[in-house]
């Protein structure tokens, strides 16, 4: 039964991380280069620009869901299973979300890199 619970938490983490990553990437594209902003307008301007962005706030909510699910999952299962299993599945879902929702140019090289890393992380977890 613990295995069912563990994999249920992994699915929740993959979904919440993918939505969070996509929203965060969209928020950061709207805000612009943070190091450039910090250089020209200071660190407070960076914090203000990030924290007033609705996508950023929504991303934080989904990351919080993922974080507390991770805590529960880590109390049942090994770090060497939970984190790599979540990460390897997230590589695939993030690449699909980036192509569909962020309109990123996910060319052959990026797919190859993501698939190599996904298989590599799965092997590390085995």
């Amino acid at each position: 039964m613990t295995l069912v619970y563990t994999w249920s938490t992994i699915v929740i983490m993959v979904l919440s991380t993918t939505v969070g990553d996509t929203l965060l990437a969209r928020a950061m594209k709207q805000v612009g280069d943070l190091s450039e902003l910090r250089r020209t307008r200071g660190i407070l301007a960076v914090v203000k620009a990030a924290m007033l962005n609705l996508d950023m706030l929504a991303a934080l909510f989904f990351f919080a869901v993922g974080f507390f699910t991770l805590l529960v999952s880590l109390s049942w299962a090994d770090l060497s299973l939970v984190v790599p299993a979540t990460a390897s599945l997230t590589f695939v879902t993030n690449a699909i979300a980036a192509k569909l929702f962020l309109r990123e140019n996910v060319d052959g090289r990026r797919w190859a890199a993501n698939i190599l890393v996904c298989i590599g992380v799965a092997l590390l977890a085995s």
């Binding site: 990123e104 990026r110 890199a113 890393v117």
Partner: protein, 135 residues
């Protein structure tokens, strides 16, 4: 890519993997959390190991947000996976643990994936406009 941007990616790798390690250390000490008593996940934040893990993960989040402000998600994601290689190398050379052949193959695949993505442009605009955009 400037040296400063490589530093941001390195900070992501170190903070992310060490943060996860500290969370696991803390949650192992606290014991399993029951589905019916999930509020223990919130009180777990007061465990010193979990609290230190959260501080490192805030550092990871800051570096991750910064990286996403100048690079694509599909560029940054593979770079973060170097953390697993970092943890595996630490376990071999510092903890003197045995790493199986399967895990070494995993490390080689992750490193190859990061090397492949490292040779591409970090944003979609530069890919879309071709070599002229770089000149």
């Amino acid at each position: 890519m400037t040296f400063r941007k490589y530093l941001v990616l390195a900070a992501m790798v170190v903070f992310g993997s060490l943060g996860d390690l500290l969370l696991k250390r803390g949650m192992s000490a606290l014991g399993p959390i029951s589905i019916h008593d999930w509020t223990h996940a919130i009180t777990a934040l007061f465990n010193p190991w979990v609290a230190c893990g959260v501080i490192l993960l805030i550092g990871f989040f800051a570096a991750y947000s910064s990286a996403l402000s100048w690079a694509d998600l599909t560029y940054v994601m593979p770079a973060t996976s170097l953390g697993y290689v970092f943890i595996a190398l630490l376990s071999v050379f510092v903890l003197h643990e045995n790493v199986s052949v399967t895990r070494w193959i995993g490390i080689i695949l992750i490193s190859s994936g990061v090397a492949v993505i490292g040779q591409s442009h970090n944003t979609t605009e530069k890919i879309a406009h071709g070599p002229e955009a770089i000149l």
